[in-house]
């Protein structure tokens, strides 16, 4: 298994400076990626009347867009590895913009499926992955904070896009609104322009590492960048191993042998079944128990507002020296906390009515924000910044299923039982069990990693395998390990 020297990128990430401009760019990109499909639902009623289709047919537009966004993950991570974040994001922005403008001239619902759904969705995926990846390149020490800030883009944009869309619709109808939205989305290109490729300083201790690294430049493989630095530092033979077939490089199935990655994947797949449905059904649930439209919409605003602040807040907390080494626990606790919120929701709604739902919206907003802020940070923590690109591509493709199936299955539960509470209980269980699973499994994972660390320190095994496994799996105290590794190589590597 190729090594991923997560802690040792071979250069010191800036952790600031232009990095914050990059975070702002990522904020915009991520904001559009997540908020755009959701905010389009405002137009559905009118488009449904215009094309004379049923609600489920029009809802497909949103579903296809989300599906394409997740499915495009792998493709965009390949492109990012090859060309870097900037061109991919700019291209993504152009794709979405042009497709929206073209859709404004559409004459059938199929046009919307293809243009807004497929092309728009892929364009958004070309925004999402590179943004996440580039944060890992620019930040090490302050990475959870940067992640939290960037992920805050989603609620902020949802908050602003919703009334903006309503305004556009009232003044220009759906066609004009699509055209103007296409222009607005092109601001992703501005975000892409901000994503300047990082200037790196070579590591002082190994000046000759550079020569080894450049041979792997051409590979454009998922490990290619890792080897650039990793190969030089660990051993001279590493780079040559990378030139495998394209299937190996493109898919990086070796990630499936990564213990932490598998734990993450299993936990997340189950979690995503119950992740989005409660948001989707919050307003209908409120209306169902007799709350009027405006107050129900206000619930969502409260939710988004709390979410907005919870994300950077969580990033800040996750960055502290107490939490960072054991960030996986923090993540699993947030997931479980989500589950608990959902389980309590029906009780709050029945006994306290609107006030109960407001309380639920606040706590759920907090929970949702916590999970979203940490979602990609823990993946980075597990697999390292170099393999993150491929990992996130794999993860989004696999998560495609639960994300898309979740709300319809939840809707089905609501239809069958004619009551929202069973759906909330089901979602609660769907979140609580992965939370507990992640907590327990990560306990074992940390134990194993500590064991390996101790073994390594006692010097019982050679440089190669143990170091590799620690480098690739250990999430704790990256700052420590950076300097530690350098010392170690001093002693043993030569």
């Amino acid at each position: 298994m190729p090594p991923a020297v997560k802690a040792n990128l071979g250069y010191t990430p800036p952790d600031g400076g232009w990095g914050w401009a990059v975070v702002f760019g990522a904020f915009i990109s991520i904001g559009f990626s997540y908020a755009f499909p959701k905010s389009l639902t405002i137009y559905f009623k009118e488009i449904q009347k215009y094309f004379t289709v049923s609600y489920s047919e029009i809802a497909w537009v949103s579903s296809i867009m989300l599906a394409a966004m997740y499915a495009g993950g792998k493709l965009s991570s390949i492109l990012v590895n090859r060309y870097g974040s900037r061109p991919v994001v700019i291209m993504g922005g152009l794709m979405v913009g042009v497709s929206m403008v073209a859709a404004s001239f559409g004459t059938t619902i199929m046009h919307l499926y293809l243009l807004v759904g497929v092309i728009g969705g892929f364009g958004l995926s070309f925004n999402l992955q590179p943004s996440l990846t580039i944060i890992g390149k620019y930040f090490q020490v302050k990475r959870p904070m940067a992640n939290g800030l960037a992920m805050a883009g989603s609620p902020v944009f949802l908050f602003t896009l919703a009334p903006l869309n309503q305004f556009l619709f009232d003044n220009f109808g759906w066609r004009g609104a699509f055209m103007i939205l296409g222009a607005i989305v092109m601001n992703c290109c501005v975000a892409g322009a901000l994503m300047r490729p990082v200037k790196m300083k070579t590591v002082q201790k190994d000046p000759d590492a550079a020569t080894n690294g450049t041979t792997t430049e051409k590979a454009g493989a998922t490990e290619g960048i890792a080897n650039l630095e990793a190969g030089g530092l660990l051993s001279d033979t590493e780079p040559k191993q990378k030139k495998g077939g394209c299937a190996d490089k493109c898919l990086d199935l070796s990630l499936f042998k990564h213990r932490g990655f598998i734990i993450y994947l299993i936990g997340n797949v189950v979690m995503f079944f119950g992740f989005f449905a409660p948001v989707v059904f919050l307003a209908p649930y409120a209306k169902g128990i007799g709350i009027d439209n405006y107050q129900a919409a206000f619930l969502l605003s409260i939710f988004a507002l709390v979410d907005m602040f919870a994300r950077p807040g969580t990033g800040l907390i996750a960055n502290t020296k107490w939490i960072r080494p054991r960030i996986q626990y923090f993540f699993s606790i947030s997931v479980a906390y989500n589950g608990v919120c959902h389980l309590l929701c029906p009780f709050l709604a029945v006994h306290l009515g609107y006030a109960g739902l407001v309380i639920y919206a606040v706590f759920f907003g907090l929970a949702f924000g916590m999970v979203c802020a940490l979602l990609f940070e823990v993946l980075m923590d597990l697999v390292g910044a170099e393999r993150f690109s491929s990992a996130v591509g794999l993860v989004t493709i696999i998560e495609c299923g639960p994300v898309l199936l979740g709300p319809p299955v939840a809707g089905f539960l609501v239809d069958v039982f004619d009551d929202y509470k069973y759906m909330y209980w089901a979602c609660g269980i769907m979140m609580l069990s992965p939370g507990i699973f992640l907590f327990i499994m990560n306990y074992f994972n940390y134990k194993r990693l500590d064991q390996e660390e101790r073994q390594r320190q006692s010097g019982t095994t050679g440089l190669g395998s143990v170091t590799r496994s620690i480098m690739e799996e250990r999430g704790a105290g990256e700052e420590r390990t950076i300097s530690k590794d350098l010392e170690m190589f001093d002693e043993e590597g030569q």
């Binding site: 580039i134 220009f172 109808g173 004009g176 055209m179 501005v190 020569t211 450049t214 430049e217 650039l228």
Partner: protein, 303 residues
């Protein structure tokens, strides 16, 4: 105003025609025999002191109220009826306490002009309790106040929906103070009307600016007609084009500025080279891989 000792009121309806009444609480039972009278009662909780009854045809309707005996248990109270707040003449009765309850009922002849707010009032020991029945024709709710925006050359679909199917639907276009009827003979190429029990749709194709204005859909019931207004605004494609071009221009300018700043910044620091720093080329060059092995002190980094 509402005395606490009314804890339940009963509504009994006796339709003398086979169709005609819905209450907001219970859907109408299917009635087959036109001559049969149907008794239906609804027991209403004490807090619900208003009942909305939607009526489709002229009928004779009996409204009945029951209230539980008050703590004082007066042997009799005065009961009377009001319509729209005004007491109905000769409706005052003395109501006796039977089985701990006071009952009051009256038959009303309901037709188009006599719809309104009927109340039964119990007056005893200077305390008044009443219950309101709102008798109306079905109404279309939730119609948009904002105009529908459509484009020249495009088409627009207007829809009206109501809870209970009317006898028929009719569309009009408001022309100044008059209403112009739209039906299948009025320009069949452009106007299409679709009717499906309790919904109707009007599709106007090949729009021009003249088509802007207010359209009226009316649901015709035997007792009354319910109307709803829809406004359409027809605009040309030039209108959204202006903000579109403005925003695209803003995007291009910002991208240009950012890349310019970067190039200026890299030119500045390239005049003070450090052995270990590598300045990455502009965006288009990122797509080229560098095969050259020896840039020994520098490395190209692809993000």
């Amino acid at each position: 105003m509402f005395s606490p000792w009314i804890s339940s009121l009963k509504l009994i309806l006796i339709p003398l025609f086979w169709r005609g009444i819905y209450t907001t609480e219970n859907p109408l039972l299917a009635l087959n025999d036109p001559v049969t009278t149907v008794f239906r009662s609804a027991v209403l909780k004490g807090d619900n002191l208003v009942e909305k009854v939607e009526i489709l045809k002229p009928i004779n309707l009996e409204l009945a109220c029951t209230c539980d005996g008050n703590p004082n248990k007066l042997p009799n109270v005065t009961g009377f009826w009001r319509k729209d707040g005004i007491e109905i003449a000769n409706s005052r009765l003395t109501v006796l306490l039977e089985n701990e309850q006071y009952n009051l009922k009256k038959v009303f002849s309901i037709h188009g002009d006599s719809l309104g707010n009927y109340s039964c009032v119990f007056n005893g020991a200077d305390k008044e309790s009443k219950f309101d029945f709102y008798l109306t024709a079905p109404e279309m709710g939730n119609m948009k106040e904002k105009p529908i925006v459509a484009y020249v050359g495009d088409s627009v679909v207007m829809a009206c929906k109501i809870k209970l199917p009317p006898k028929t639907w009719i569309w009009y276009k408001e022309n100044g103070t008059e209403q112009e009827l739209i039906n299948s003979t009025t320009d069949p190429l452009r106007y299409k009307i679709f009717v499906d029990r309790n919904t109707t749709k009007l599709t106007v194709t090949n729009l021009t600016e003249v088509d802007s204005g207010v359209y009226i859909c009316s649901a015709i019931y035997n007792i009354k007609t319910s109307v709803s207004h829809l406004e359409v605004r027809v605009i040309s494609f030039m209108e959204p084009l202006k903000p579109f071009i403005a925003i695209v221009a803003e995007v291009i300018i910002l991208v240009f500025l950012i890349l310019l700043y970067e190039r200026w910044g890299s030119q500045k620091s390239s005049s003070s080279p450090t052995g270990n720093m590598m300045h990455v080329d502009q965006m288009h060059k990122l797509t080229q891989d560098d095969n050259g092995i020896d840039e020994s002190s520098t490395r190209k980094r692809k993000i």
